[in-house]
Amino acid sequence: MPNSPALNAAKAPPLELTDGSRVGIIGGGPAGSFFAYFLLHIAQRVGLDLRVDIYEARDFSALAPMGCNMCGGIISESLVQHLAAEGINLPPTVVQRGIDSYYLHMDVGSVRIETPLHEMRIAAVHRGAGPRGAKLPLRFRGFDGYLLELAEAKGAQVVRKRVGSVVWDDGRPQVTTPDGARQTYDLLAVAAGVNTSTLKLFQGLKPDYKAPVSTKTYICEFLLGEETIRKHLGSSMHVFLLNLPRLEFAAFIPKGDYLTFCLLGHDIDSGLVQTFLASREVKRCLPPGWEPPKDFCHCSPRLSIHGAKHPFADRLIFIGDCGVTRLYKDGIGAAYRTAKAAAVAAIFAGVSEDAFRRHFWPACRRISNDNRIGQLVFAVTHLIQKLRFLRRGVGKMVSGEQQRPGARRRMSLVLWDTFTGSAPYRDVFLRCLHPAFWGRLFWDTLAGNLHPNHTSSRG
């Protein structure tokens, strides 16, 4: 019986990684680099010899857009801590500024909220080497390049080519590059993000995979100089809750010499950007008389808002943004979590669809379940943004918490975790359920509207 299914099954390579197994990764952003790093790290720990190729055509040492993965560049408080526990301490050559607080700007005033432990616990980084037109030599390195180097140091090979096609070769994924080179892998991890056409390569290969639903954002970089940033923005992230049509959320992130400006909303166009920059609340944060230059580095990347469907199969797995990621905040943290879950599953449970369902999917499900609560949290935020009397109440409550030594910082923590992505949305939601939270908010809303003074707190 030379072609019997039983014989073929016996001949088929096992759905697990063994010495000499080859792993391909498409995309050398955080998800791809974390996956390579942890896969090789754990493999070395258990004495497994793997060969890992990362396909990344982008040169992260080049200035944007050639070397940038287009993102606000915030490494959340929780990710900074988890990476430190993993032995990955972000060096000052990568961290452009440690963030120790944030300002919430509303039309009813501004409040400053400090990190619960008064530390620089959030890292502001550039994903690429730097914005277009940045002066050479550069003072800092890009975060993505740093992670890719960590993966290389663990033994991953970086293939500086685009992927042209992916097909099944006798049950294993085969990657072909535009120069005709073919490589067959025992496992292929796709970490291509959502700002790429690479995901179309999988339409025929895995028809039940549905790419994430995404929305457009707007990010730009303004060169202000370190001294101006220190004087006007400090080490604080500036979050704006302004009642402007089509605007959901906006933030200023201070970095070395640059200020990164992120805008999230519907149909963002130059008109909305100009209206936002011209608003009184924004002008208050910037140097007097400052006007945006005519030419500056900007991009409109897509942001995943609804995870992919069926992001795994035998020998194939989708991680990071092209799999399941966190709603609006801490996408890099989600990349770390899904990449590590995938690496642990591949080493200890195998590379079958069933192994990924049992050992990788729970990590994705935790994130998507939390995103559902996140949608509710952001709906409330949206309501605050629309209702002035609520903004007064929130502003008064935070201001009071920041000014009263030893006061329980219920609203401050809720806002901190919502806007920095430092805790699961579930925690934010549960904190909001506390009767004392509602009691105080009710009282401060009443007081804030009876005596509507402008809120201002410096923590």
Binding site: Q81, G87, G98
Partner: protein, 127 residues
């Protein structure tokens, strides 16, 4: 070390962790060096020096005992605190996160054993 260094800044000689206090976090050194001090005959004795990338206070993560040693900054230090609750929640999701700490703790036990054996050896030689 600049505003680009993460964690909290401590001046030279500043106590970061005091023996006997209740702790709810561990620390990872982001820059500089710290001394591990124990009290002997009413004086502080330095038993180890920890450098960038090392961590301390990890016992507080796993047990409810008070801090077993005092940690003092040796020069300027930046140290990042890892909160117990957030860390243990993540360990629950991904137990391998604790591996590096277990590795380090095992390493410290081995070093302590070596020191103890050396001390016992010296005592027997003196007898």
């Amino acid at each position: 070390m600049t505003t680009a260094t993460l964690g909290k800044h401590y001046l030279s000689g500043e106590i970061i962790v005091r023996k006997g206090e209740v702790g709810d976090c561990m620390y990872v050194i982001q820059g500089g060096e710290v001394e591990v001090l124990i009290s002997k005959d009413d004086a502080d004795v330095c038993v180890a020096v920890l450098k960038e990338g090392d961590f301390f206070g990890e016992m507080a993560i796993f047990e409810k005992e008070v801090r077993s040693a005092t940690i003092r900054a040796r020069g300027e230090v930046w140290a990042l605190a890892l909160e117990k609750k957030a860390f243990l929640r993540r360990v629950h999701e991904d137990p391998s996160l604790a591996f590096r700490i277990l590795e380090k703790m095992s390493n410290r036990i081995r070093t302590l054993n070596d020191k103890l054996n050396a001390a016992l050896g010296r005592r027997q030689t003196l007898r």
